[in-house]
């Protein structure tokens, strides 16, 4: 687990706009938190191996190199609707983000790609920050099935998740396919609408 000790981390910080010009869905991980992670300015197409890492940025500290859980502060992911932000986090290697609160669109986008955002109380998040910073090699065990996050000391924090979202995450379902199972219902709804509000279909 890696601790990112800032509130209101916005999507421009998670993945700066110059990287949004890509028409692909992958490869954003190398530019995750680009302006904080590197000392030089990043542009698309620059080989990250040639760039200067900011040794002080938390993800660059050797002890957090392989983190798969990101611990964050309130209102994580605020700002734009860019799904490139969760793409970058996932592509980098994160599977879970824990924070006291998330911005709505970001939160929603995470589920769409199989990244799990977990909301815990501020006091619990504070405790996790203290523990992870104090202990090298700190590992938190997240169990989606049981909806719990367990510390190395065995303390367990339960978390909430919408049952439909949980089901989709656990089974890796194709949401579009699921919705299309209701195609008849959608058509019927649409027809009714066409009669009642024909101007919507002009």
């Amino acid at each position: 687990m890696a601790p990112l000790d800032r509130a209101n981390v916005d999507t421009d910080a998670i993945i700066p706009k110059q990287f949004l010009k890509s028409i692909k869905r992958s490869g954003f991980g190398q530019n995750l938190f680009d302006e904080w992670r590197y000392l030089d300015h990043g542009e698309p197409g620059i080989d990250p191996a040639t760039r200067k890492l900011n040794p002080e940025f938390v993800l660059n500290l050797p002890r957090y190199r392989d983190a798969r859980i990101l611990l964050a502060r309130a209102n994580f992911g605020c700002g734009s609707s860019r799904e490139h932000a969760p793409w970058a986090l996932q592509d980098y290697g994160f599977e879970v983000i824990i924070a006291p609160s998330f911005a709505d669109i970001f939160f929603n986008n995470c589920f769409k790609i199989g990244l799990l955002p977990i909301v815990l109380d501020t006091s619990q998040v504070d405790q996790l920050f203290r523990e992870v910073e104090a202990t090298e090699g700190y590992r938190l065990l997240v169990n989606l099935e049981q909806q719990s996050a367990t510390t190395p000391a065995g303390e367990s924090f339960p978390f909430e998740i919408d049952p439909f979202r949980k089901h989709s995450l656990l089974n890796g379902l194709d949401e579009i396919g699921l919705t299309l199972q209701h195609a008849d219902k959608i058509r019927a709804f649409e027809e009714k609408r066409r009669v009642e509000q024909p101007w919507l279909f002009g």
Partner: protein, 471 residues
């Protein structure tokens, strides 16, 4: 019958299917209008194609390139190859699938949130989505309008629906008359300052009260646009005569008989008397002064007669830390009077403030004046080709040019600097856009959010100044 809020009505009238009996659970929501731009759509179109799917309803979609387009020299095309590829990809996808698109050199082209309403493609009672957080803008027309991610763009393309969760409701009531020179932008910033950037998280906000009813549609759009800056995915305003008059005769709006029928329905789109909201916030219009942000989040805002705050006075450690970091980034000392801050560049534009009324307000301030010598660049980027045309008809372009402003082609421009318009490291900007995040207007650039009149006043004075002293 239970009293309903406007949001309840909009939600309920679009539910196709409920995933569970839990009213708080996920529902399948029908989408009436899907706006598309070049940045968040290519992967969605690709996904659609890979799955062998087609758009469900073509005439629900309207596409435009706005984020990457240059604001000068359009005859030469787009010089940055990566930007060009993204715009061309949109053109190609739209052409292949038969989607209506306003291309870069179409005079109807502009920022997606400006052209939707301008065309009447945004109508009351609709659900409106776009892969862009400022879709909240369209809620000014009593729509349920919100931003979505790329997976959802694909979902709407394929199914005309979204799986969504109902929000809580918040009512923000602004009563009284706004002072002379005080605009919707000042109200929006005052709201964000009051409830914070996470204050609206999980909520859909309805703006109400006499000050809101007194706003033009342009003003209401500015306000709903920034609902997202208060954390709310959607902002909205009830239908009234102002809404209806704005829409009359717009290209995509109904005409003749259907128009009459539509208007009758639209007039029901308001919260019932006595409907209850999850939260109510009240603001007194008379007390709202011109707002200027000093930090790197829209909630870091104060009034033009105020000062940069002092972190040592903040008890909460996380907050204090954020404030210190913001002041360092912004190169501002605590207790500096706002009026002593001197911008290098002036940006009048964006989906928040690039409509005709915004340009008129700014032109009013600069008329017959010159921008200060210390200003390196002042630019006006109209929200759409039609706004630009209208402004030119009114002679506003001349007023700006004579004052030393550049008059540009429409697009997002320096709101997020995906094209060539950007701040150089360390430069300070008075901007009418909506986000002052680190690097938003260019790496290491420094943004102060203000209204168009305030940006114009700063251009003339060379530092922030209370626009009420200039008018």
């Amino acid at each position: 019958m239970k009293m309903q809020t406007l949001y309840d009505k909009l939600w309920q009238s679009h539910v196709v299917h409920e995933e569970s009996d839990d009213p708080e659970g996920m529902a399948l929501l029908y989408i009436d209008r899907h706006l598309v731009h070049e940045v968040t759509s290519p992967q969605a179109f690709e996904g659609l194609k890979l799955a062998g799917r087609k758009p469900w309803r073509l005439n629900s979609i309207l596409a435009v390139a706005d984020h990457n387009v240059p604001t000068t020299g359009r005859d030469h095309g787009i010089s940055d190859p990566v930007s060009r590829l993204q715009v061309e990809t949109l053109d190609q996808n739209c052409e292949e699938l038969g989607i209506t698109e306003f291309r870069m050199n179409d005079r109807r082209q502009g920022i997606v949130h400006v052209i939707g309403p301008e065309q009447g493609a945004t109508l009351p009672g609709m659900t409106v989505v776009c892969g862009d957080s400022h879709t909240s803008t369209h809620g000014a027309f009593a729509c349920l309008a919100f931003g979505i991610g790329t997976s959802e763009v694909e979902h709407v393309l394929a199914t005309q629906c979204l799986v969504a969760k109902k929000s809580k409701t918040m009512q923000i009531v602004v009563e009284g008359n706004l002072g002379h020179g005080i605009t919707a932008k000042d109200v929006a910033l005052a709201v964000v300052g009051r409830i914070g950037t996470a204050g609206g998280t999980g909520y859909a906000i309805e703006f109400a009260g006499s000050a809101i009813r007194g706003l033009s549609m342009e003003g209401r759009m500015t306000l709903c646009n920034m609902a997202i800056e208060a954390g709310a995915r959607a902002g909205m305003v009830a239908v009234d005569d102002v809404t209806i008059e704005y829409l009359r005769g717009r290209p995509f709006a109904p005409k003749g008989d259907p128009w009459e029928k539509a208007v009758t329905y639209w007039r029901t789109l308001k919260s019932d008397e006595g409907a209850s909201f999850g939260k109510v916030v009240q603001l007194d219009a008379v007390s709202i002064k011109p707002q200027v942000t000093w930090g790197t989040s829209p909630e870091m805002v104060t009034t033009v007669d105020g000062k940069v705050p002092d972190p040592t006075e903040i008890a909460d450690a996380v907050k204090r830390h954020d404030m210190e970091r913001a002041l360092k980034y912004m190169a501002l000392a605590p207790n500096t009077p706002i009026s002593e801050i001197r911008p290098d560049k002036i940006f009048i534009g964006s989906c928040t403030n690039a409509r005709i009324e915004d340009l008129r307000a700014a032109a009013e301030v600069v008329r017959g004046r010159r921008i200060a010598k210390s200003i390196k660049l002042a630019m006006v980027v109209p929200g759409s080709g039609l706004v630009k045309h209208q402004a030119e008809q009114e002679g506003l372009d001349r007023i700006f040019r004579e004052a030393g402003f550049e008059w540009r082609e429409p697009g997002c421009s320096m709101c997020l600097a995906m094209n060539d318009d950007r701040l150089e490291p360390g430069e300070r900007c008075a901007s009418t856009s909506n986000r002052n995040f680190e690097g938003r207007q260019g790496p290491a650039g420094r943004t102060h959010l203000v209204s168009p009149a305030m940006a114009a006043a700063a251009a003339v004075a060379g530092h922030f100044v209370d626009v009420r002293e200039i008018y």
